[in-house]
């Protein structure tokens, strides 16, 4: 029986074309990846193309956000954690927030689950999403998007019950990094899967950046591994090592030394500007950035093999 699309759309494109086509000045751009699979290469290409006035939505605003801030791309940040992981501070972000230097940054502050629920509401076309956070916090005083709803059901004690809610977020574009996809955009992620699928479903457009583009048969051998189906994806970009300095489970390890070095780089505006000039503006694309780091460097982040045991999907005899 013929129930399948034999002629899949080929959505593969270059990073340059994907950013040019899908990220415009003034857009709301979600970059997701929780410590794992951070779409750094996409952030760098946004910097190279000189985008301005972006609203960046990202749970953990870390190095790539600090870099985009320093490059002048971002006027507003929506986030639940603004720090360089456990390795220190984000110098540019702190200058923007603490001293409006060189210009103010509009900052909308949430908690992690608040951000997750905003993506869930956005993905599910809900007007709000309830969560058991924020009761008694000062966050609702500085973020009026945090509001309360009264439950129409009695509380356990028979009285009424109130709960906080967050509004949906619907980015103009969500960009995520993943291990592999087919050319149509069926995207498979393993290890930490974070909130990538929800961020993609919440967005008007989605760009998936991958370590590998694989044959259809690879994806179809394990359909449960597909975190993001093709119908939710607009562009597929092949960009190996595009998550550096974060890691890609099974492909390369985290560059902890770079995380540690970022506090010192970003604390000094001149050093930061020089770093951007050399590593982002000074490279034509991520392939050149990868080459510039050198093979010896990448050998230091290499990982050994730990294959999953297969499962049997079965076939009709």
């Amino acid at each position: 029986m013929e129930t399948a699309r034999e002629t899949e759309l080929d959505k593969t494109t270059t990073m340059r074309e994907a950013i040019a086509a899908h990220v415009r000045d003034g857009d709301t751009v979600s970059l997701e990846g929780f410590t794992h699979l951070i779409p750094t290469a996409a952030g760098h290409e946004i910097i190279r193309q000189g985008r301005r006035d972006l609203t960046v939505v990202r749970m953990t605003a870390d190095i790539v956000v600090d870099q985009m801030l320093a490059a002048g791309c971002v006027s507003k940040l929506v986030s639940s954690f603004v720090g360089n992981s456990s390795a220190g501070s984000l110098g540019e972000l702190r200058r923007r927030v603490e001293s409006a230097d060189p210009e103010p940054l509009v900052f909308e502050e949430y908690s992690h689950y608040g951000m997750i629920c905003r993506y869930l509401a956005g993905a599910q076309r809900l007007p709000f999403y309830p969560l058991r956070s924020y009761g008694g916090s000062d966050l609702p005083q500085v973020n009026t998007a945090l509001r309360k709803v009264t439950s129409p059901y009695p509380a356990p004690d028979g009285g009424t019950e109130e709960i906080y809610v967050v509004p949906p977020v619907n980015p103009d574009v969500t960009i995520v990094h993943a291990q592999r996809a087919d050319r149509a955009g069926n995207t498979q992620i393993w290890g930490l899967t974070g909130v990538q699928a929800e961020a993609v479903y919440a967005a008007r457009k989605a760009v998936v950046v991958v370590e590998e583009i694989v044959e259809d048969e690879v994806v179809r051998s394990d359909p449960n591994r597909t975190a993001i189906p093709a119908h939710a994806v607009d562009a597929v970009v092949h960009c190996p090592r595009g998550a550096h300095p974060s890691f890609a489970q099974g492909y390369y390890d985290r560059d902890n030394a770079f995380y540690r070095s970022w506090s010192a780089i970003s604390k000094d505006k001149e050093k930061l500007t020089a770093w951007l000039a050399e590593w982002v503006h000074g490279t034509r694309d991520h392939a050149e950035y990868v080459d510039k780091l050198g093979e010896e460097f990448w050998e230091g982040l290499a990982v050994g093999e730990a294959l999953s045991l297969p499962v049997d999907y079965g076939r009709r005899l």
């Binding site: 029986m1 013929e2 129930t3 699309r5 699928a197 359909p223 597909t226 093709a230 999907y313 079965g314």
Partner: protein
């Protein structure tokens, strides 16, 4: 069987397939909707993806599936989603262009009953209920209904119970509708059509040899007739060949 003898299933599948022109995603059950979608994929909608209520996207089945959850739909599929993702992000998220539904009763606004015949509390016949029909209606851009039986009991002035309401009923209930509701009803007599909020189903086209009066007599409400009423082009030999040879060669559903 020659191209001249066309079964009811073939007729309905071919007519429904044409209505899927240029659509990208269809939420379909097994049987006529899948046949229609599969044929459309080979003809008028080459990019069409069928999404199944079970969570399967981009199926490549080795055999004709017998249910929406058939193992052959899963093996080799492009994605199998957990139910909260399927209903929440895909369907309610607005990714479905056309949802296919059936029903025991339909009214002129395209509201559907699949719960009971008679009073809900003391039904003459208890039917399966909504399943995902309420959600397919509420969230698909538009809904196609395929009804083999076109008679006054099924096409009724007043539903015994409204399981899956169209946008007009939603609005009256204070709920903002997201889709157009039922836009096509495809039967053995012809096609009823409406555009969206505020429209009622009108007779849009008939099969050759059927008169508007035939359809009106088989419809339980005062069926209006569209100004540009047309006669449906019979299935072409190419459509029938694809349906019989490629889509359902074992004639499991082409009874």
């Amino acid at each position: 069987m020659t191209a001249g003898t066309v079964t009811s299933s073939e007729l309905l599948s071919v007519v429904a397939s044409r209505e899927l022109a240029a659509r990208r995603t269809v939420f379909a059950g097994i049987g006529l909707p899948t046949l229609a979608a599969s044929l459309a994929h080979l003809t008028v909608a080459p990019e069409l993806e069928i999404v199944y209520e079970s969570g399967v996207c981009g199926a490549h089945p080795s055999h004709l599936p017998e249910t929406i959850a058939d193992a052959v739909l899963i093996t080799g599929a492009e994605a199998v989603l957990p139910m909260p993702t399927l209903f929440g992000s895909v369907l309610q998220g607005g990714h479905i262009d056309v949802g296919f539904l059936g029903a025991a009763q339909i009214d002129k606004w395209g509201n559907l009953n699949s719960s009971v015949i008679g009073d809900w509390h003391h039904p003459k016949a208890r039917l399966p209920g909504s399943g995902g029909a309420n959600e397919v209606m509420a969230n698909s851009r538009e809904v196609f209904v395929v009804m083999r039986r076109h008679d006054v009991r099924s096409f009724t002035e007043e539903l015994d119970f409204c399981t899956s309401p169209g946008p007009d009923r939603a609005l009256a209930d204070g709920i903002r509708p997201l889709g157009a509701g039922v836009t096509r009803v495809i039967t053995e007599l012809g096609i009823l059509a409406r555009e969206g909020v505020g429209d009622e189903l009108k007779l849009a086209a008939m099969h050759p040899g059927v008169t508007a009066e035939d359809v009106r007599a088989s419809t339980g409400w005062d069926l209006q007739v569209s100004g540009d009423l047309s006669v449906i082009e019979p299935p072409s030999s190419e459509e029938l060949a694809l349906l019989r040879e490629d889509v359902d060669p074992e004639r499991v559903y082409l009874r």
